[in-house]
Symmetry: C2
Subunit: 204 residues, 2 copies
DNA sequence: TCCGCTACGCTACGACTCGTATCGGAAATC
DNA sequence: GATTTCCGATACGAGTCGTAGCGTAGCGGA
Protein backbone atom coordinates (compact mmCIF):
# COMPACT_ATOMS: atom_id res chain seq x y z
CA UNK A 1 0.00 0.00 0.00
CA UNK A 2 2.07 2.85 -1.28
CA UNK A 3 -0.48 5.43 -0.33
CA UNK A 4 -3.14 5.19 2.32
CA UNK A 5 -5.70 5.95 -0.28
CA UNK A 6 -5.44 7.14 -3.80
CA UNK A 7 -4.35 10.68 -4.28
CA UNK A 8 -5.01 10.91 -7.94
CA UNK A 9 -4.09 7.85 -9.83
CA UNK A 10 -5.71 5.27 -7.67
CA UNK A 11 -7.04 2.02 -8.95
CA UNK A 12 -5.18 1.17 -12.09
CA UNK A 13 -1.92 -0.61 -11.51
CA UNK A 14 0.10 0.76 -14.34
CA UNK A 15 -1.26 4.24 -14.41
CA UNK A 16 -3.08 5.77 -17.29
CA UNK A 17 -2.27 3.37 -20.11
CA UNK A 18 1.30 3.94 -21.10
CA UNK A 19 3.54 6.78 -20.19
CA UNK A 20 6.04 7.08 -17.41
CA UNK A 21 4.73 5.60 -14.18
CA UNK A 22 4.75 7.54 -10.98
CA UNK A 23 7.84 7.17 -8.90
CA UNK A 24 7.02 4.36 -6.48
CA UNK A 25 8.80 5.58 -3.41
CA UNK A 26 7.91 9.22 -3.83
CA UNK A 27 4.63 9.02 -1.92
CA UNK A 28 6.25 7.43 1.09
CA UNK A 29 9.10 9.93 1.07
CA UNK A 30 6.71 12.86 0.77
CA UNK A 31 4.44 11.68 3.57
CA UNK A 32 7.40 10.98 5.84
CA UNK A 33 8.84 14.41 5.10
CA UNK A 34 5.48 15.98 5.83
CA UNK A 35 5.27 14.27 9.21
CA UNK A 36 8.80 15.29 10.11
CA UNK A 37 8.21 18.91 9.20
CA UNK A 38 4.89 18.97 11.01
CA UNK A 39 6.68 17.77 14.11
CA UNK A 40 9.45 20.32 13.75
CA UNK A 41 7.61 23.42 12.63
CA UNK A 42 3.92 22.81 13.09
CA UNK A 43 1.07 23.14 10.62
CA UNK A 44 1.67 26.78 9.75
CA UNK A 45 5.43 26.42 9.66
CA UNK A 46 5.31 23.55 7.22
CA UNK A 47 5.25 24.68 3.61
CA UNK A 48 4.80 22.39 0.67
CA UNK A 49 8.04 23.75 -0.74
CA UNK A 50 9.84 22.52 2.36
CA UNK A 51 8.18 19.13 2.14
CA UNK A 52 9.23 18.76 -1.46
CA UNK A 53 12.79 19.76 -0.70
CA UNK A 54 13.12 17.34 2.20
CA UNK A 55 11.55 14.50 0.20
CA UNK A 56 14.00 15.17 -2.63
CA UNK A 57 11.18 15.97 -5.01
CA UNK A 58 10.00 18.98 -6.98
CA UNK A 59 7.22 21.05 -5.51
CA UNK A 60 5.16 20.52 -8.61
CA UNK A 61 5.17 16.80 -7.98
CA UNK A 62 3.26 17.37 -4.75
CA UNK A 63 0.60 19.35 -6.55
CA UNK A 64 0.34 16.64 -9.16
CA UNK A 65 -0.56 14.09 -6.48
CA UNK A 66 -2.54 16.07 -3.91
CA UNK A 67 -4.81 19.07 -4.30
CA UNK A 68 -3.24 20.86 -1.36
CA UNK A 69 -1.69 20.78 2.05
CA UNK A 70 -4.72 19.49 3.91
CA UNK A 71 -5.26 16.47 1.70
CA UNK A 72 -1.58 15.56 1.88
CA UNK A 73 -1.60 15.80 5.66
CA UNK A 74 -4.70 13.64 5.88
CA UNK A 75 -2.81 10.85 4.19
CA UNK A 76 0.27 11.46 6.32
CA UNK A 77 -1.75 11.30 9.53
CA UNK A 78 -3.82 8.36 8.37
CA UNK A 79 -0.64 6.32 8.02
CA UNK A 80 0.13 7.16 11.62
CA UNK A 81 -3.30 6.31 12.96
CA UNK A 82 -3.26 3.05 11.04
CA UNK A 83 -0.47 1.83 13.30
CA UNK A 84 -3.06 1.41 16.06
CA UNK A 85 -4.28 -2.15 16.28
CA UNK A 86 -6.83 -3.93 18.42
CA UNK A 87 -5.43 -6.00 21.26
CA UNK A 88 -6.98 -9.07 22.80
CA UNK A 89 -6.13 -9.01 26.48
CA UNK A 90 -8.96 -11.14 27.79
CA UNK A 91 -11.51 -8.60 28.96
CA UNK A 92 -13.23 -5.47 27.78
CA UNK A 93 -11.48 -3.42 30.41
CA UNK A 94 -8.05 -4.78 29.60
CA UNK A 95 -8.59 -4.26 25.88
CA UNK A 96 -9.79 -0.73 26.48
CA UNK A 97 -6.87 0.11 28.72
CA UNK A 98 -4.38 -0.92 26.07
CA UNK A 99 -6.23 0.86 23.30
CA UNK A 100 -6.48 4.06 25.30
CA UNK A 101 -2.80 4.01 26.21
CA UNK A 102 -1.92 3.58 22.55
CA UNK A 103 -4.20 6.44 21.66
CA UNK A 104 -2.64 8.65 24.32
CA UNK A 105 0.82 7.96 22.97
CA UNK A 106 -0.32 8.81 19.47
CA UNK A 107 -2.02 12.03 20.53
CA UNK A 108 1.12 13.01 22.39
CA UNK A 109 3.25 13.08 19.29
CA UNK A 110 4.08 16.60 18.11
CA UNK A 111 2.89 16.04 14.57
CA UNK A 112 -0.45 14.78 15.85
CA UNK A 113 -0.85 17.70 18.21
CA UNK A 114 -0.46 20.27 15.50
CA UNK A 115 -2.04 18.44 12.58
CA UNK A 116 -5.03 16.54 13.88
CA UNK A 117 -7.10 19.47 15.09
CA UNK A 118 -5.93 21.66 12.23
CA UNK A 119 -7.31 19.08 9.82
CA UNK A 120 -10.62 18.95 11.64
CA UNK A 121 -10.80 22.74 11.63
CA UNK A 122 -10.26 22.89 7.90
CA UNK A 123 -12.75 20.09 7.36
CA UNK A 124 -15.47 22.31 8.81
CA UNK A 125 -15.46 24.35 5.60
CA UNK A 126 -14.54 21.67 3.08
CA UNK A 127 -16.95 18.77 2.62
CA UNK A 128 -14.43 16.77 0.61
CA UNK A 129 -11.83 17.09 3.31
CA UNK A 130 -14.44 16.28 5.94
CA UNK A 131 -15.21 13.05 4.12
CA UNK A 132 -11.54 12.18 3.80
CA UNK A 133 -10.88 12.77 7.50
CA UNK A 134 -13.86 10.66 8.45
CA UNK A 135 -13.04 7.85 6.08
CA UNK A 136 -9.29 7.70 6.53
CA UNK A 137 -8.96 8.49 10.21
CA UNK A 138 -12.18 8.54 12.25
CA UNK A 139 -13.90 5.51 10.83
CA UNK A 140 -10.79 3.39 11.10
CA UNK A 141 -10.51 4.21 14.76
CA UNK A 142 -14.15 3.48 15.24
CA UNK A 143 -13.55 0.00 13.90
CA UNK A 144 -11.23 -0.74 16.80
CA UNK A 145 -14.14 -0.33 19.20
CA UNK A 146 -16.35 -2.47 17.04
CA UNK A 147 -13.69 -5.14 17.00
CA UNK A 148 -13.56 -5.01 20.77
CA UNK A 149 -17.34 -5.31 20.90
CA UNK A 150 -17.23 -8.42 18.75
CA UNK A 151 -14.62 -10.00 20.99
CA UNK A 152 -16.75 -9.18 24.00
CA UNK A 153 -19.71 -10.85 22.34
CA UNK A 154 -17.63 -13.90 21.63
CA UNK A 155 -16.58 -14.13 25.26
CA UNK A 156 -20.25 -13.93 26.25
CA UNK A 157 -21.95 -13.04 29.53
CA UNK A 158 -21.73 -9.65 31.10
CA UNK A 159 -19.12 -8.01 28.94
CA UNK A 160 -21.17 -7.07 25.91
CA UNK A 161 -20.80 -3.53 24.58
CA UNK A 162 -24.22 -2.10 23.91
CA UNK A 163 -23.48 0.96 21.78
CA UNK A 164 -20.01 0.87 20.21
CA UNK A 165 -20.46 4.04 18.17
CA UNK A 166 -21.36 6.09 21.20
CA UNK A 167 -18.62 4.49 23.24
CA UNK A 168 -16.13 5.42 20.57
CA UNK A 169 -17.17 9.07 20.64
CA UNK A 170 -16.85 9.08 24.42
CA UNK A 171 -13.43 7.48 24.51
CA UNK A 172 -11.84 9.36 21.65
CA UNK A 173 -13.56 12.62 22.57
CA UNK A 174 -12.52 12.54 26.19
CA UNK A 175 -8.88 11.86 25.39
CA UNK A 176 -8.74 14.41 22.59
CA UNK A 177 -10.36 17.04 24.76
CA UNK A 178 -8.10 16.39 27.69
CA UNK A 179 -4.85 16.19 25.73
CA UNK A 180 -5.30 18.44 22.73
CA UNK A 181 -7.87 21.01 23.76
CA UNK A 182 -7.42 21.45 27.49
CA UNK A 183 -3.77 20.56 27.07
CA UNK A 184 -3.51 18.60 30.28
CA UNK A 185 -1.75 15.28 30.76
CA UNK A 186 -3.40 11.89 31.14
CA UNK A 187 -1.87 9.46 33.59
CA UNK A 188 -2.85 5.90 34.47
CA UNK A 189 -5.05 7.04 37.31
CA UNK A 190 -7.06 9.20 34.95
CA UNK A 191 -7.59 6.25 32.64
CA UNK A 192 -8.74 4.11 35.54
CA UNK A 193 -11.22 6.70 36.73
CA UNK A 194 -12.44 7.18 33.19
CA UNK A 195 -13.07 3.47 32.74
CA UNK A 196 -14.81 3.27 36.11
CA UNK A 197 -17.11 6.00 34.90
CA UNK A 198 -17.88 4.67 31.45
CA UNK A 199 -17.56 0.91 31.34
CA UNK A 200 -20.22 -0.16 33.84
CA UNK A 201 -23.01 1.38 31.80
CA UNK A 202 -21.41 0.63 28.45
CA UNK A 203 -21.37 -3.11 28.98
CA UNK A 204 -24.12 -5.47 29.86
CA UNK B 1 -16.13 44.78 30.36
CA UNK B 2 -14.90 46.06 27.10
CA UNK B 3 -12.64 43.13 26.50
CA UNK B 4 -12.97 39.62 27.78
CA UNK B 5 -9.59 39.90 29.31
CA UNK B 6 -6.98 42.52 28.96
CA UNK B 7 -5.24 42.62 25.67
CA UNK B 8 -2.58 45.10 26.53
CA UNK B 9 -3.68 47.90 28.72
CA UNK B 10 -5.51 45.87 31.30
CA UNK B 11 -5.84 46.95 34.88
CA UNK B 12 -5.56 50.67 34.97
CA UNK B 13 -8.81 52.45 34.40
CA UNK B 14 -7.61 55.51 32.61
CA UNK B 15 -4.77 54.03 30.71
CA UNK B 16 -1.23 55.19 31.08
CA UNK B 17 -1.68 58.35 33.12
CA UNK B 18 -2.85 61.05 30.80
CA UNK B 19 -3.00 61.07 27.09
CA UNK B 20 -5.72 59.85 24.82
CA UNK B 21 -7.49 56.75 26.12
CA UNK B 22 -8.21 53.82 23.91
CA UNK B 23 -11.40 53.97 21.97
CA UNK B 24 -13.91 52.16 24.16
CA UNK B 25 -16.05 50.63 21.47
CA UNK B 26 -13.18 49.60 19.25
CA UNK B 27 -12.58 46.29 21.04
CA UNK B 28 -16.19 45.25 20.73
CA UNK B 29 -16.33 46.27 17.07
CA UNK B 30 -13.14 44.38 16.30
CA UNK B 31 -14.22 41.20 18.05
CA UNK B 32 -17.61 41.29 16.38
CA UNK B 33 -16.01 41.82 13.00
CA UNK B 34 -13.66 38.93 13.67
CA UNK B 35 -16.55 36.60 14.48
CA UNK B 36 -18.46 37.67 11.40
CA UNK B 37 -15.50 37.11 9.11
CA UNK B 38 -14.70 33.79 10.73
CA UNK B 39 -18.24 32.69 10.02
CA UNK B 40 -18.11 33.91 6.43
CA UNK B 41 -14.63 32.93 5.33
CA UNK B 42 -13.21 30.63 7.97
CA UNK B 43 -9.94 30.84 9.86
CA UNK B 44 -7.67 30.93 6.82
CA UNK B 45 -9.93 33.24 4.85
CA UNK B 46 -10.06 35.80 7.62
CA UNK B 47 -7.19 38.29 7.47
CA UNK B 48 -6.49 40.93 10.06
CA UNK B 49 -6.68 43.52 7.32
CA UNK B 50 -10.25 42.47 6.61
CA UNK B 51 -11.14 42.55 10.28
CA UNK B 52 -9.78 46.06 10.61
CA UNK B 53 -11.66 47.26 7.55
CA UNK B 54 -14.97 45.81 8.69
CA UNK B 55 -14.53 47.18 12.19
CA UNK B 56 -13.81 50.61 10.73
CA UNK B 57 -10.37 50.66 12.26
CA UNK B 58 -6.81 50.77 11.01
CA UNK B 59 -4.93 47.51 10.85
CA UNK B 60 -2.26 48.89 13.11
CA UNK B 61 -4.82 49.33 15.85
CA UNK B 62 -5.33 45.58 15.94
CA UNK B 63 -1.64 44.96 16.39
CA UNK B 64 -1.53 47.54 19.15
CA UNK B 65 -4.09 45.54 21.13
CA UNK B 66 -3.36 41.92 20.30
CA UNK B 67 -0.12 40.17 19.40
CA UNK B 68 -1.69 38.33 16.49
CA UNK B 69 -4.63 36.56 14.96
CA UNK B 70 -4.79 33.70 17.43
CA UNK B 71 -4.93 35.90 20.52
CA UNK B 72 -7.59 38.08 18.98
CA UNK B 73 -9.72 35.06 18.09
CA UNK B 74 -9.35 33.65 21.60
CA UNK B 75 -11.02 36.78 22.94
CA UNK B 76 -13.65 36.72 20.22
CA UNK B 77 -14.53 33.11 20.96
CA UNK B 78 -14.38 33.59 24.70
CA UNK B 79 -17.12 36.20 24.45
CA UNK B 80 -19.21 33.62 22.65
CA UNK B 81 -18.58 30.83 25.13
CA UNK B 82 -19.32 33.18 27.99
CA UNK B 83 -22.94 33.32 26.86
CA UNK B 84 -23.37 29.81 28.24
CA UNK B 85 -24.84 29.85 31.70
CA UNK B 86 -25.73 27.18 34.24
CA UNK B 87 -29.39 26.31 34.49
CA UNK B 88 -31.20 24.98 37.53
CA UNK B 89 -33.84 22.59 36.28
CA UNK B 90 -34.26 20.51 39.40
CA UNK B 91 -32.08 17.48 38.73
CA UNK B 92 -28.63 16.62 37.55
CA UNK B 93 -30.02 15.04 34.43
CA UNK B 94 -32.22 18.00 33.58
CA UNK B 95 -29.39 20.44 34.17
CA UNK B 96 -27.05 18.38 32.04
CA UNK B 97 -29.56 18.10 29.23
CA UNK B 98 -29.96 21.85 29.01
CA UNK B 99 -26.23 22.50 29.25
CA UNK B 100 -25.46 19.98 26.53
CA UNK B 101 -28.10 21.37 24.21
CA UNK B 102 -26.65 24.85 24.68
CA UNK B 103 -23.20 23.50 23.97
CA UNK B 104 -24.39 21.76 20.84
CA UNK B 105 -25.93 24.97 19.55
CA UNK B 106 -22.71 26.82 20.21
CA UNK B 107 -20.56 24.20 18.52
CA UNK B 108 -22.86 24.29 15.53
CA UNK B 109 -22.13 27.92 14.76
CA UNK B 110 -19.88 28.40 11.75
CA UNK B 111 -17.40 30.63 13.56
CA UNK B 112 -17.04 28.05 16.30
CA UNK B 113 -16.54 25.22 13.85
CA UNK B 114 -13.65 26.90 12.10
CA UNK B 115 -12.09 28.75 15.01
CA UNK B 116 -12.28 26.51 18.05
CA UNK B 117 -10.19 23.64 16.78
CA UNK B 118 -7.86 25.97 14.91
CA UNK B 119 -7.12 27.71 18.19
CA UNK B 120 -6.44 24.43 19.93
CA UNK B 121 -4.17 23.36 17.11
CA UNK B 122 -2.13 26.54 17.35
CA UNK B 123 -2.03 26.25 21.12
CA UNK B 124 -0.12 23.00 20.78
CA UNK B 125 2.97 24.98 19.78
CA UNK B 126 2.44 28.15 21.77
CA UNK B 127 2.38 27.88 25.56
CA UNK B 128 1.05 31.39 25.98
CA UNK B 129 -1.84 30.69 23.67
CA UNK B 130 -2.43 27.38 25.37
CA UNK B 131 -2.77 29.17 28.70
CA UNK B 132 -5.12 31.75 27.21
CA UNK B 133 -7.36 29.09 25.68
CA UNK B 134 -7.49 27.19 28.92
CA UNK B 135 -8.14 30.23 31.06
CA UNK B 136 -10.59 32.07 28.85
CA UNK B 137 -12.52 29.16 27.35
CA UNK B 138 -11.91 25.73 28.85
CA UNK B 139 -11.84 26.64 32.53
CA UNK B 140 -14.96 28.74 32.24
CA UNK B 141 -16.83 25.83 30.75
CA UNK B 142 -15.49 23.57 33.44
CA UNK B 143 -17.02 25.86 36.03
CA UNK B 144 -20.47 25.10 34.68
CA UNK B 145 -20.04 21.46 35.65
CA UNK B 146 -18.73 22.43 39.06
CA UNK B 147 -21.73 24.68 39.55
CA UNK B 148 -23.98 21.77 38.66
CA UNK B 149 -22.11 19.60 41.15
CA UNK B 150 -22.66 22.13 43.91
CA UNK B 151 -26.35 22.28 43.15
CA UNK B 152 -26.49 18.50 43.24
CA UNK B 153 -24.80 18.52 46.63
CA UNK B 154 -27.30 21.05 47.90
CA UNK B 155 -30.17 18.85 46.77
CA UNK B 156 -28.58 15.95 48.63
CA UNK B 157 -29.11 12.18 48.36
CA UNK B 158 -28.29 10.24 45.28
CA UNK B 159 -27.49 13.00 42.87
CA UNK B 160 -23.96 13.94 43.91
CA UNK B 161 -21.36 14.28 41.18
CA UNK B 162 -18.24 12.48 42.23
CA UNK B 163 -15.62 13.77 39.80
CA UNK B 164 -16.67 17.00 38.06
CA UNK B 165 -13.37 17.53 36.24
CA UNK B 166 -13.51 14.12 34.63
CA UNK B 167 -17.20 14.50 33.85
CA UNK B 168 -16.46 17.78 32.13
CA UNK B 169 -13.84 16.20 29.91
CA UNK B 170 -16.26 13.42 29.02
CA UNK B 171 -19.16 15.72 28.18
CA UNK B 172 -17.25 18.38 26.29
CA UNK B 173 -14.98 15.85 24.63
CA UNK B 174 -17.76 13.66 23.38
CA UNK B 175 -19.71 16.53 21.89
CA UNK B 176 -16.66 18.14 20.33
CA UNK B 177 -15.55 14.85 18.86
CA UNK B 178 -18.96 14.03 17.47
CA UNK B 179 -19.70 17.46 16.03
CA UNK B 180 -16.37 18.97 15.10
CA UNK B 181 -14.08 16.02 14.45
CA UNK B 182 -16.32 13.27 13.14
CA UNK B 183 -18.61 15.94 11.72
CA UNK B 184 -21.81 14.07 12.51
CA UNK B 185 -24.99 15.56 13.97
CA UNK B 186 -26.21 15.18 17.52
CA UNK B 187 -29.94 14.76 18.06
CA UNK B 188 -31.94 14.45 21.26
CA UNK B 189 -31.76 10.67 21.16
CA UNK B 190 -28.00 10.81 21.11
CA UNK B 191 -27.97 13.07 24.15
CA UNK B 192 -30.32 10.69 25.97
CA UNK B 193 -28.14 7.69 25.22
CA UNK B 194 -25.07 9.63 26.23
CA UNK B 195 -26.56 10.58 29.58
CA UNK B 196 -27.73 7.01 30.16
CA UNK B 197 -24.16 5.92 29.64
CA UNK B 198 -22.42 8.51 31.76
CA UNK B 199 -24.68 9.75 34.51
CA UNK B 200 -25.31 6.54 36.49
CA UNK B 201 -21.64 6.13 37.33
CA UNK B 202 -20.95 9.85 37.58
CA UNK B 203 -23.42 10.42 40.37
CA UNK B 204 -23.76 8.74 43.71
C1' DT C 1 13.73 1.41 -33.45
C1' DC C 2 10.72 5.02 -33.27
C1' DC C 3 6.65 7.28 -31.32
C1' DG C 4 3.01 8.64 -28.11
C1' DC C 5 2.10 9.31 -23.54
C1' DT C 6 2.84 10.65 -18.86
C1' DA C 7 5.70 12.01 -14.87
C1' DC C 8 9.65 14.42 -13.58
C1' DG C 9 12.94 18.50 -12.01
C1' DC C 10 13.65 23.11 -12.52
C1' DT C 11 12.63 27.90 -12.83
C1' DA C 12 9.86 31.82 -12.91
C1' DC C 13 5.81 34.28 -12.02
C1' DG C 14 1.66 37.36 -10.18
C1' DA C 15 -1.18 37.71 -6.32
C1' DC C 16 -1.55 37.84 -1.78
C1' DT C 17 -0.64 38.12 3.37
C1' DC C 18 2.08 39.13 7.14
C1' DG C 19 3.90 42.20 10.70
C1' DT C 20 6.44 46.53 11.10
C1' DA C 21 7.73 51.37 10.53
C1' DT C 22 6.58 56.00 9.96
C1' DC C 23 3.92 59.93 9.72
C1' DG C 24 0.71 63.94 10.90
C1' DG C 25 -3.33 64.68 13.31
C1' DA C 26 -6.93 63.84 17.01
C1' DA C 27 -8.42 63.46 21.74
C1' DA C 28 -7.92 63.29 26.15
C1' DT C 29 -5.41 64.74 30.99
C1' DC C 30 -2.70 68.06 33.65
C1' DG D 1 -2.42 75.63 26.41
C1' DA D 2 1.11 71.85 26.85
C1' DT D 3 1.76 67.17 27.07
C1' DT D 4 0.86 62.57 26.38
C1' DT D 5 -1.05 58.90 24.16
C1' DC D 6 -3.88 56.92 20.68
C1' DC D 7 -5.45 56.86 15.96
C1' DG D 8 -5.73 56.33 10.66
C1' DA D 9 -3.19 56.08 6.60
C1' DT D 10 0.40 54.53 3.79
C1' DA D 11 4.40 52.10 2.46
C1' DC D 12 7.47 48.40 2.84
C1' DG D 13 10.44 43.80 2.70
C1' DA D 14 9.85 39.14 3.36
C1' DG D 15 7.63 35.11 2.52
C1' DT D 16 3.97 31.87 0.70
C1' DC D 17 0.76 30.22 -2.48
C1' DG D 18 -0.60 27.66 -6.63
C1' DT D 19 0.31 27.68 -11.63
C1' DA D 20 2.75 27.68 -16.00
C1' DG D 21 6.34 26.64 -19.15
C1' DC D 22 10.24 24.21 -20.37
C1' DG D 23 13.12 20.26 -21.64
C1' DT D 24 14.04 15.53 -20.07
C1' DA D 25 13.24 10.64 -18.37
C1' DG D 26 10.95 6.33 -18.51
C1' DC D 27 7.35 3.21 -20.05
C1' DG D 28 4.24 0.59 -23.62
C1' DG D 29 2.84 -0.22 -28.27
C1' DA D 30 3.45 0.00 -33.53
Amino acid sequence: MASVTGNGREGSETGGRGGRPRSAGADAAILAAARALLAERGWDGMTLGDVAARAGVAKTTLYRRWPGKAELVVDAMAQLFDTLEPADAGSVRADATIAIRDLIALLGRPETQTAFLALAAHAARDPGLRAAVREKIVDRQRRLVHAGARRADARGEGGRITDPDLLFDVIAGTMVHRLLIAGEPVDDGYVERFLDLVLPAATR
